[in-house]
């Protein structure tokens, strides 16, 4: 089987190295933004994490469609792995966003369209994973979970459109330093953000891959158990 130890996985080594570079850029290299101060550095985590959670939703819906089409187990495994990792990224995105918003906007939470959409999509994918753990295992569970994955993705633009319309009727209350100032950072912001996004994307891919392998082992165990308990097969 797999003889290379887990810690020598090239993806893991590469994403660790990139994460190190990103941390150096974020905390040492890039100058502090003058309007928001040190709190602005959260942005370098928040944006890549948010990108990771979006990537998660995209992979869930794409592999759900592929599962419904091809009925191949591997798409279902990929969907559930990226849903779990995407949800972790989603939770970190919501938390880091709130920590940033409190000093900068003056509120922990507001009815802004992107925030509302992110929160509701988060709930839909929580429901997706809960459904998977409640439903008895089998192909019916995989099929229905795939349907939920597709519906979540279809609902996303409608939620965004509605949340946008809603926030126009109820303008968000933003009073902090972000209300009236442009960023004083130029190209440095872009470089750090790009590096950090690369690092978090690789981390995302590594985590999904690790979860996928565990999932495959789980399925193998189920198959083995079934094979040994079937009468006539010993």
């Amino acid at each position: 089987m797999n003889k290379v130890p887990g810690y020598l996985d090239p993806l893991l080594i590469l994403s660790t190295a990139l994460m190190g570079c990103a941390l150096y850029l974020i905390f040492i290299w890039v100058p502090t933004e003058t309007n928001q101060g040190a709190i602005q550095r959260i942005l370098y985590f928040h944006v890549p994490i948010a990108w990771g959670s979006m990537l998660g939703i995209f992979v869930v819906s794409a592999s759900s469609i592929l599962y419904l089409w091809k009925k191949d187990q591997k798409w279902d495994r990929l969907a559930v792995s990226s849903a779990e990792v995407g949800l972790t990224f989603g939770a970190m995105m919501l938390l880091s966003g709130m920590i940033w918003a409190r000093p900068v906007w003056g509120v922990w939470w507001t009815g802004e369209a992107k925030l509302t959409t992110a929160l509701i999509l988060f709930f839909i994918y929580v429901a997706y994973l809960m459904f998977r753990s409640y439903f008895p295992p089998g192909t019916q569970r995989q099929r229905i979970a795939a349907v939920i994955g597709v519906i979540g993705a279809l609902d996303a633009p409608i939620i965004y459109f509605a949340a946008n319309l809603w926030s126009q009727a109820h303008p968000p209350l933003i009073t902090g330093p972000a209300a009236d100032a442009d960023s004083t950072l130029g190209s440095e912001l872009g470089i750090v953000l790009l590096m950090s996004t690369f690092a978090f994307t690789l981390l995302f891919v590594y985590m999904v891959q690790a979860r996928y392998k565990i999932r495959r082992s789980e399925d193998d165990i189920v198959d083995l158990k079934r094979a040994t308990t079937t009468p006539g097969v010993s």
Partner: protein, 224 residues
């Protein structure tokens, strides 16, 4: 075409006859919604300004939560009396089963609304008896039954279906809820069709999308 309509109506009529006999669903939805409204009348101060501000939100939150309790029954009764298998072996396509069931649920939610909305008007002292309200209630009931029937069918075989259905249903119908609340807000403040047009269009788009998608994917859900 006529056959299709007859099949859909046959399934909806079966549910209606059952409902007329035991009154499970409509009583559940109406009772729950009225209770939520009643609790809110003493939970918050209902001076005229407040009622206009929070009334629409309370009304639609009550109907959404109450709707879930009713939708839970839609397929649960089929399982309890083991009639789901009979429905599945009938020589009709699965999308018609979905549409028939949705039509039944739509009628139940509408019936509940006919009782709940006037009570809301009395308790919150707001004027809601206008054609716009009929349109809002219709598009919301269509969307609730379209999404709710799909999710009720999905969660019917789960042991914790009372928990699972609201967790699936409520986030997905959020855009529809926003549309209902916002257009009702315009309505109680004396707004016109033009002001609520974009919300009603959004709600109609939601309804059409979910009816079409659900009918298309419904056979994936009831397959064994």
């Amino acid at each position: 075409m006529t056959d299709t309509i007859l099949v859909i109506w046959a399934i909806a009529r079966k549910d209606l006859v059952l409902e007329i006999r035991n009154k499970d669903v409509v009583v559940a939805i109406t009772g729950f919604a009225l209770l939520v409204l009643a609790i809110f009348t003493f939970a918050v101060d209902l001076s005229q300004m407040n009622a206009k501000l929070i009334g629409p939100g309370v009304l639609w939150a009550a109907i959404a939560f109450a709707g879930v309790t009713g939708l839970n029954r839609a397929f649960a009764s089929e399982i309890e009396s083991s009639t789901l298998e009979a429905l599945l072996i009938a020589p009709i396509s699965r999308d018609l089963i979905y549409l028939g069931k949705s039509l039944g649920n739509f009628l139940f939610i509408t019936t509940a609304q006919i009782i709940v909305i006037p009570t809301f008007a009395v308790l919150f002292n707001l004027i809601v008896f206008r054609w716009e309200m009929v349109a809002i209630c219709m598009v919301t009931a269509i969307g609730f039954s379209a999404v709710g029937t799909l999710f009720a069918a999905m969660s019917v075989r789960i042991r914790a279906r009372e928990v699972m259905l609201p967790l699936l249903f409520l986030p997905v119908v959020t855009p529809l809820l926003m549309a209902a609340v916002e257009s009702t807000s315009y309505l109680v403040n004396g707004g016109t069709w033009g002001e609520m047009a974009s919300w009603l269009q959004l709600a109609i788009a939601f309804d059409v999308l979910f009816i079409v998608i659900s009918a298309l994917i419904f056979q994936n859900i009831l397959e064994d």
